[in-house]
């Protein structure tokens, strides 16, 4: 089985969100970038397929040279090869088309992406890849087993979960649950050394026109001070008469 894990390179969850250039760009000053958490769960599941089912695991990211340390980290965790498509990732549809092109050339059986990137929360790349490559698709995937050409996946639905059976080629939008939290791996020294000599191929992008373009950003209005009360009667009263939510 040949697996591609799509990695989006995102600000760490504790990052302060600020914008520059007249609020048109995310301010990367002092921000640490990491593997998108949803992709990290997927990558870890891919490692399981590599170890238990002899899968070959590639990782791919659409982005500039600044995403290479994130791809190297994925290699240090155990991926075999990395691909970077040298394009600025600003439009989800374009990213999906670039990745679909990589997938067509690479002949992957299973494509593991994340439910959403935690930065722009597009939640579109995996579904678009699936449609563009004619693959089956399971979103918000929290469990995945593959036997031969058949796959069983569990997806989270509103208020529960459902089990689906399908076949390869398959794209998933993965999330927490795909592996246990405790199975997530921190690259060790040996992995980091090995990653240095693993292939990281840079591909030039195909020419596309974007479907969307972000014009400007703003932050929510600062919050007023909390009203502290000392007893539950006051709380109930405020929720009823002032906030009108009960």
């Amino acid at each position: 089985m040949k697996i591609l894990v799509c990695i989006s390179h995102v600000p760490d969850t504790t990052s302060k969100i600020n914008f520059t250039d007249g609020d048109t760009k995310f301010d990367t000053n002092g921000v640490q970038f990491v593997i998108n958490p949803n992709d990290e769960f997927g990558l870890t599941r891919a490692m399981w397929f590599k170890e238990k089912q002899a899968a070959v695991v590639h990782v791919a990211s659409v982005g500039g040279p600044e995403t290479e340390p994130t791809l190297r980290k994925a290699l240090a965790i155990g991926a075999d090869e990395a691909i970077r498509v040298n394009a600025v990732a600003t439009d989800g549809f374009s990213v999906a088309k670039q990745l679909a092109n990589v997938i067509k050339d690479g002949g992957y059986d299973l494509i593991i992406a994340g439910r959403e990137s935690i930065d722009y929360n597009g939640g579109m790349v995996p579904g678009m890849i699936a449609k563009l490559t004619g693959s089956n698709f399971v979103n918000t995937c929290i469990s995945l087993e593959v036997t031969g050409n058949e796959a069983t996946a569990i997806r989270e639905i509103d208020g529960g979960k459902e089990t689906l059976s399908t076949s390869l080629p398959l794209v998933i939008g993965g999330q927490k649950g795909l592996v246990e939290e405790s199975d997530l791996r921190i690259p060790n020294m040996r992995g980091i050394m090995q990653a240095r000599s693993k292939p990281l191929t840079v591909r030039e992008p195909i020419v596309l026109s974007a479907a969307t373009k972000a014009l400007c950003f703003e932050k929510p209005e600062p919050k007023g001070a909390v009203k502290l009360v000392t007893n539950v009667d006051d709380l109930i009263d405020l929720l009823h008469t002032e906030a009108k939510v009960i």
């Binding site: 689906l164 649950g177 939510v245």
Partner: protein, 321 residues
């Protein structure tokens, strides 16, 4: 034309569907056009006129009995083509988010999720949506001819309008590929309010000390008709099911009221609940960061406050019933 997909459950339209129709009507008014709703094996469409739909395309097909993202996406795309839609409105339900990118590819349309208000402009088409898990908003221009919008829950509200809706039977063509995806089983608690649909969410964290103490949390949720939720460590520890974990790596919450009990208010937790309207925090530590993000708070021990709150709320509910 503006197309809106209206999800129903057990024979009635979901509130988010009515909100989506209201929003679609808002866009249609700006564009000087009308709204067509698409209902797949759903409730009868007559009352959708009350929210602004002029036409309801009703699809009844036993092959579409269970949700199948690819099939539903194909049906909605076909409806959009038939109606020559320039805008397709979806919600933020798990099913909508599953289908939206498939519809976008079918229609070669730009897609924007988590839309929070009507477009600032429709030519060019510019719309505001939340990004960075509600830590910011972006105004994005969609440059394709057709646009797909995913409306954020509770952002626009249900708005009444008086339009007469006509129903029309629509027979879509189903691609055999959709049968490559088979539903094996569904595991859903039917008697519980889901976080996605809830108006009120009662959430508790590690301050509750252990799973055996959740009785009072469940009771509070029951009294309020609320969904229960928890912080990430609580689900990691196995005290509560994973489906209850809210935050940046869990589910988003956009309820009217969010009550956080014994939760410190870490940035990753707040990211997921920011778009809830009113936040109440009950925490024994006055320095807990959550108080900075809250509207109302009680500094106190949950083990004392919650039983009192439950008792008083029951009395309040009796009085106001």
């Amino acid at each position: 034309m503006v197309i809106v997909y209206t999800e129903s459950e057990e024979g009635t339209f979901k509130k988010i569907a009515l909100e989506a129709v209201s929003y679609a009507k808002g866009i249609a008014d700006i564009l000087g056009t009308t709204v067509t709703a698409v209902s797949i094996n759903g409730a009868s469409g007559d009352d959708l006129g009350n929210y602004g739909a002029s036409k309801v395309l009703e699809i009844t097909d036993s092959a579409l009995k269970n949700f199948n993202a690819e099939a539903f996406a194909d049906v909605i795309s076909q409806a959009a083509k038939k109606e020559e839609a320039s805008v397709v409105v979806l919600t933020s339900s798990a099913n909508s988010k599953f289908m939206a990118p498939l519809i976008a590819v079918n229609l070669e349309a730009g897609y924007v999720a988590n839309v929070t208000q009507l477009p600032d402009s429709t030519a060019p088409f510019q719309v505001k949506h939340s990004v960075f898990t509600n830590k910011a908003f972006s105004t994005t221009e969609i440059t394709t001819e057709t646009k797909v919008l995913g409306l954020a829950k509770n952002a626009f509200g249900v708005k009444e309008s008086a339009v007469a809706a006509v129903s029309e039977i629509f027979v879509p063509e189903l691609n055999p590929h959709i049968f490559d995806m088979k539903l094996v089983s569904v595991d859903k608690a039917m008697d519980k309010v889901t976080i996605a649909d809830a108006e009120i969410v009662v959430s508790a964290g590690r301050g509750m000390k252990g799973p055996e103490n959740w009785g009072m949390i469940e009771e509070l949720a029951d009294i309020l008709g609320a969904a229960t939720a928890c912080s990430k460590p609580v689900s990691d520890l196995g005290w509560r099911p994973h489906g209850e974990h809210v935050g940046q790596t869990g589910k988003p919450v956009a309820s009217n009221l969010y009550i956080a009990i014994g939760i410190s208010g870490a940035i990753q937790h707040l990211a997921g609940i920011n778009s809830s309207k009113i936040k109440v925090v009950i925490n024994s530590d006055p320095e807990a960061p959550f108080f900075k993000a809250a509207d109302y708070g009680i500094v106190g021990d949950a083990f004392e406050v919650i039983p009192q709150l439950n008792q008083k709320l029951k009395a309040f509910k009796m009085q106001n019933a």
